[in-house]
């Protein structure tokens, strides 16, 4: 466990001197802020209308979608760059187990994303101040839990893919392709198939978020789904590094 923490700490600190991480953080928070501002403006225009005031979904909804881009950008470097720099030799000849390396890398990225999300809490806070009687806190917590689980899964898949490559760009695009499949394509057969659509609906990554967590429904199957994906991603990473030794 200590090795995981040592590796995670290094990665976390590294993000704060990495230009890519700053770009990710800037775009992530700016786009959320813009969408938030547009919604607030719409609210003030509609103040005599019938539209209900915005709730925390105006923050968590776009945030989940932005993760599709942010996660691969943060994970592409993690293991691919160690291979390119030759430092993989350092890590694999140090008394560190493969899974400790992979989980440590993932945890570093996860903590960085959690930091960004902590900053984003400022938007629901503002919303709470300007609406009466304030926002639905349970809805917000459910939404944030969903985003956090989604982040864990996205980053784990990204780390797993990064372990397969020694080129960051290749890792980035492969991760994107996998995300596109899990986010849009896997669920698609559910809409056309007459039977067996439940399987595809369950595998759909966006469905678990937009139809349950973001609507305030915390489901066990949703939690199990995201945690399984996280475990799978980390397992792929660990296996990839183990096989790297045998090549």
């Amino acid at each position: 466990m200590r090795n995981i923490w040592t590796i995670a700490k290094r990665e976390y600190n590294l993000y704060f001197i990495s230009p890519v991480a700053y770009v990710v953080a800037f775009l992530f928070l700016t786009i959320i802020a813009l969408i938030f501002a547009i919604n607030i403006m719409a609210m003030t225009v509609n103040q005599f209308g019938f539209a209900p005031p915005p709730d925390s979904r105006v923050v968590t909804g776009p945030m989940a979608f932005l993760l599709l881009l942010a996660a691969p950008a943060l994970t592409m470097r993690l293991l691919a760059d160690e291979v390119r720099m030759g430092t993989m030799e350092l890590l694999l000849t140090a008394p560190v187990r493969e899974y400790e390396l992979v989980v440590g890398k993932w945890l570093g990225a996860f903590l960085f994303m959690l930091t960004l999300m902590a900053v984003s809490l400022v938007f629901p806070f503002i919303l709470n101040q300007i609406t009466d009687p304030g926002i639905d806190q349970m809805l917000m917590m459910s939404g944030y839990l969903g985003v956090i689980l989604l982040t864990a899964a996205f980053l784990a898949i990204g780390v797993g893919i990064s372990a397969l490559f020694s080129n960051q760009v290749a890792a980035f695009f492969t991760t994107m392709v996998i995300f596109v499949i899990l986010w849009w394509l896997v669920g698609a057969p559910a809409n056309v198939l007459p039977g067996g659509s439940d399987v595809f609906r369950y595998l759909d990554m966006s469905g678990h978020f937009y139809q349950s967590f973001n609507e305030g429904r915390i489901t066990l199957s949703g939690i199990a789904y995201y945690l399984s994906l996280t475990a799978l991603g980390l397992l792929i990473g660990t296996t990839a590094i183990e096989t790297r030794r045998w090549r």
Binding site: T6, I17, M85, M88, E89, L90, P95, R245
Partner: protein
């Protein structure tokens, strides 16, 4: 203590090392000498647990490098050929990271002590990316020494250093080699000759010679060969030289040149020089030809014609 038996590694169809057998003892510096592509790095990577062998076994301090890989890695300090450094970290942070991975208590003190050993204490706060090649090499060495390993494996430790630094690093390695097991690779012969207690010459994945530098020199060559250039009656001189005790195989190799051989350890050169002068001949040149470790190395590694892929 490193024990290697029948170690073999294949990269696809190419056999990088082929049935290596050797041991490196504690308190000794063992030199791994061979041309590029001979299998030095591959062997070291197997010993350090970076990759498993295709066949054979190796133990370090009694632990099998495959089965007890973690135990081996705890006991080995390793400096790979391309020094693995995080250029965006400071020297201190980098060593702290490695010390944490090795779970060293009181890491700060150890890091300071190690930096002093490699002469980088004043650069502790500097970024590795801003260091010169020689300094980076020493950071790598510091990383390998951090946990005071029983076994130190150094892949070309003096490459890229300037002459003064080479001497410093060699002294450091010599110091460490007094109580620990050191295995180092090099393709610089004089380095192996100066530094190592024992030399393994490896070529095309096989050990072609193994002995102390002195024995290698005398056993394989058996004798020193000298070329003499004189002006005057060389034929008569050749006859005289042939009668000197210990001299053999005298030949006239040119108009003013002759060559002879003498048993290693019995230097007849001063006597010969006096003889030439007493015979009233002009001594133009006397030089040792071949039969240095260099020559032996070249003979041993060139016996089989080199294959194009290497």
């Amino acid at each position: 203590m490193i024990e290697v038996s029948n170690l073999t590694k294949d990269y696809g169809a190419r056999r990088a090392i082929d049935g290596l057998n050797f041991e490196a003892r504690q308190g000794e510096i063992t030199g791994f000498l061979g041309p590029n592509g001979a299998g030095k790095t591959t062997t070291m990577r197997i010993l350090t647990g970076y990759m498993p062998p295709s066949d054979g076994a190796a133990t370090i301090a009694g632990y099998d490098v495959v089965r007890d890989s973690l135990e081996v890695r705890r006991r080995v300090g390793y400096l790979p050929e391309t020094v693995p450094l995080y250029t965006e970290m400071t020297v201190f942070d980098y060593l702290k990271f490695m010390a944490d991975l090795r779970r060293l208590p009181e890491a700060e003190d150890i890091i300071e002590e190690t930096l002093e050993m490699v002469g980088l204490l004043d650069r502790a706060g500097g970024y590795i990316g801003n260091l010169s090649k020689g300094m980076r090499q020493r950071v790598g060495l510091a990383q390998a020494l951090l946990h005071r390993p029983e076994v130190l494996i150094l892949d070309e430790p003096t490459i890229g250093l300037d002459p003064a630094q080479i001497i410093e690093v060699r002294n450091l390695i010599r110091e460490i080699g007094k109580e620990r097991t050191v295995l180092l690779s090099t393709h610089i012969l004089s380095e192996a000759q100066q530094l190592c207690d024992r030399i393994l010459i490896i070529n095309k994945g096989k050990i072609v010679a193994e002995d102390t530098p002195q024995n290698l020199q005398s056993n394989l060559s058996g004798a020193q060969r000298v070329q003499l250039t004189v002006r005057g009656d060389t034929a008569k001189l050749a006859e005289k030289i042939g009668k000197v005790d210990g001299v053999e195989n005298v030949i006239l190799s040119g108009e003013e040149q002759l060559e002879f051989q003498y048993a290693a350890g019995k230097d007849v050169r001063p006597a010969i020089a006096r003889m030439v002068v007493e015979a009233n001949l002009d001594l133009l040149e006397m030089r040792a030809i071949g039969l240095s470790l260099e020559e032996i190395f070249l003979t041993l590694t060139k016996e089989a014609p080199a294959e194009s892929e290497e």
